[in-house]
């Protein structure tokens, strides 16, 4: 049986593609149902084709407000976590100091902790401090849990950097500031960018920690969560589809730029 033999030989490829299909399927469903005109409140069954939701993505009360809030939080969380995380990463890779082990475990622990545990414990802190839950408590929480991921991403890049490049810059009479801005930063940039991108995605998408510490403030994931009970507007699928398309475009564009740089460097 040649067909069976072909299947056996390509078993890994077939299984891998099946997994890929499993991963993409919900995105396809979200995309298809963004063109649906649902009957009633719930957008779970296909009715008929319509472009209404795409023409008016903000047509649902509070949706775009929550979206812009999430974008603002994600932006500042990215700025904060990237700045703090990059500094920690440089300290860990470039310097030998006491308490290095303790610092390493303090960085590792937030990633090895179920999110509910962190969310709940942070809430007890805020309650004990009498803090008002809202934008600031969410931002503080997001910077906290994004920090470790930024450190890991930047560390990986800085570790593979050749310190002799910086020594060479100093030998050529570059000052410390000049060396850092002209040599160190450009080399570390891809790691910092990866960390920042990760922080943005994590913060923008976070639900559990936000749900505990937001009070009555509604971020986009919380809006989606609430709408699951009340009835999901088609506009949610529109936003989901747009996010997917933008993300794919950004990542592909980034790779294109990287490839061109690489081929330029090769010439």
């Amino acid at each position: 049986m040649p067909v069976l033999r072909w299947i056996r030989r390509n078993l890994v490829v077939l299984a891998g593609l099946l997994t890929l299909a499993y991963m993409i399927l919900p995105n396809v469903v979200v995309m298809v149902f963004s063109f649906n005109r649902p009957k009633g409140r719930f957008n779970y069954a296909w009715q008929e084709f319509s472009l209404d939701a795409w023409k008016d993505p903000c047509g649902v009360a509070d949706l775009c407000g929550s979206l812009s809030l999430s974008l603002r939080i994600a932006f500042w969380a990215t700025v904060g976590a990237t700045a703090l995380g990059t500094m920690i990463a440089f300290a860990l890779v470039r310097y030998r100091f006491r308490a290095r082990g303790a610092v390493n475990s303090l960085i590792f622990l937030p990633m090895a902790m179920p999110e509910v545990v962190m969310a709940a414990s942070l809430l007890t802190l805020f309650l004990n401090m009498g803090a008002r839950l809202g934008f600031w408590t969410v931002l503080i929480a997001h910077i906290m849990f994004c920090l470790s991921f930024v450190v890991t991403a930047v560390k990986a890049r800085v570790m593979s950097m050749d310190p002799r490049l910086e020594e060479a810059a100093r030998d050529l009479y570059a000052g410390p500031v000049q060396t850092f801005v002209r040599v160190t930063l450009p080399i570390a940039a891809p790691g910092i960018a990866a960390g920042a991108l990760l922080a943005f995605a994590l913060s923008f998408d976070d639900f559990i920690i936000t749900n505990f510490n937001a009070g009555s403030t509604v971020t986009f994931p919380m809006f989606v969560w609430g709408s699951a009970q009340r009835g999901t507007p088609v506009q949610i699928n529109v936003i989901g589809t747009a996010m997917f398309v933008i993300a794919v475009a950004v990542v592909l564009a980034g790779q294109l730029v990287a490839n061109r740089r690489k081929s330029n460097a090769g010439n």
């Binding site: 890929l20 499993y22 919900p26 007890t124 998408d205 993300a247 592909l252």
Partner: protein
């Protein structure tokens, strides 16, 4: 370095060098302070909350009431067992599903590699709540998936195993595990891919030259070399899955509640802070225990 320098120069060098020795601490200070205040300190507060008694009206007080732990465990052990069971099953499924895809990207994708990687990462950027809600549509009663499973009599088997009920998938353990598996697959695939990609392709050729069958090559060469990826992938999947309550709430029913749902309800709706704090401490302890034992057993302590 200063050893090789002349003694006279050393005295001049010493002052900036003490300042330089402080540089790492200045670099660490803001970030570490942030983690200490908003990660470590909250744990202490939670520990103290878990041994308090009282009510919201009268206020809570530390009374070293350890019974809360015992009560929380006896009241909610089904949710605990379920969480570990669901998270464990989802982790195993992630490994079985993710390994071939990671292998495909690392060794077989060729010029498609970047595209496949993008397709693995891209769902990260669409809100995971929206994607989880999409599973509600996919697994809906009378939908294509349920119809197909019914026609093939798969649902009879899964119902007999207790995974599904009444010829439906939604609101059953199977739906929750399906959602968990789906949501955490990228966390399994990426570490697997990273460790597979590091393997020198010539090792496979060498194994083939030594008359190893593809299966033997995989068992003796590829799998052992990918163990760091397997370990970090399973941890990155199991830990978040064990505390997750989004999948259980959106795709499950009251019979499939996980411990995360209980913690959330106690904290945000019932406002029984001591019980909620005790529960989340037990969850943390169980997860840390499982992780420690697992890392010891897999013998990759230095690789994680």
């Amino acid at each position: 370095m200063s050893v090789t320098k002349a003694p006279a120069a050393e005295a001049v060098v010493r002052k900036p060098s003490t300042r330089r020795r402080l540089v790492p601490y200045w670099l660490l200070l803001p970030g570490i302070l942030w983690l200490l205040v908003f990660f470590a300190l909250p744990m202490v507060y939670q520990a103290s909350t878990s041994v308090q008694t009282g009510s919201l009206e009268k206020g809570f007080e530390v009374t070293w009431h350890f019974r809360t732990y015992w009560d929380a465990l006896t009241d909610y052990y089904p949710q605990f067992v379920r969480s570990l069971l669901y998270a464990g099953t989802a982790t195993l499924l992630c490994l079985l599903l993710g390994y071939p895809l990671a292998y495909l990207i690392a060794f077989k994708a060729g010029r498609w590699r970047n595209l496949v990687l993008v397709l693995v990462v891209a769902p990260f950027f669409t809100s995971f709540l929206i994607r989880t809600l999409a599973w509600k549509t996919i697994l809906a009663d009378g939908g294509a998936v349920v119809d197909a499973l019914n026609t093939l009599h798969v649902l009879d088997v899964t119902a007999w195993l207790g995974w599904t009920e009444n010829n439906r998938v939604l609101a059953t353990p199977m739906a929750v595990v399906c959602g968990l598996t789906y949501n955490f697959l990228p966390f399994m695939i990426l570490p697997l891919y990273t460790s597979l990609e590091r393997i020198d392709g010539r090792l496979h050729e060498a194994a083939g030259d030594l008359y190893a069958t593809p299966a033997t090559t995989f068992r003796k060469v590829t799998l052992p070399l990918s163990m760091p990826g397997v370990v970090s992938g399973t941890l990155l999947t199991f830990i978040p899955a064990s505390g997750d309550y989004v999948n259980a709430e959106l795709l499950g029913s009251t019979d499939t509640k996980m411990v995360g749902s209980v913690i959330q309800a106690q904290f945000l709706r019932v406002l029984d802070y001591p019980t909620a704090a005790a529960l989340s401490f037990i969850l943390m302890a169980v997860v840390l225990l499982v992780v420690t034992v697992y890392i010891r057993r897999s013998g990759t302590e230095d690789l994680v």
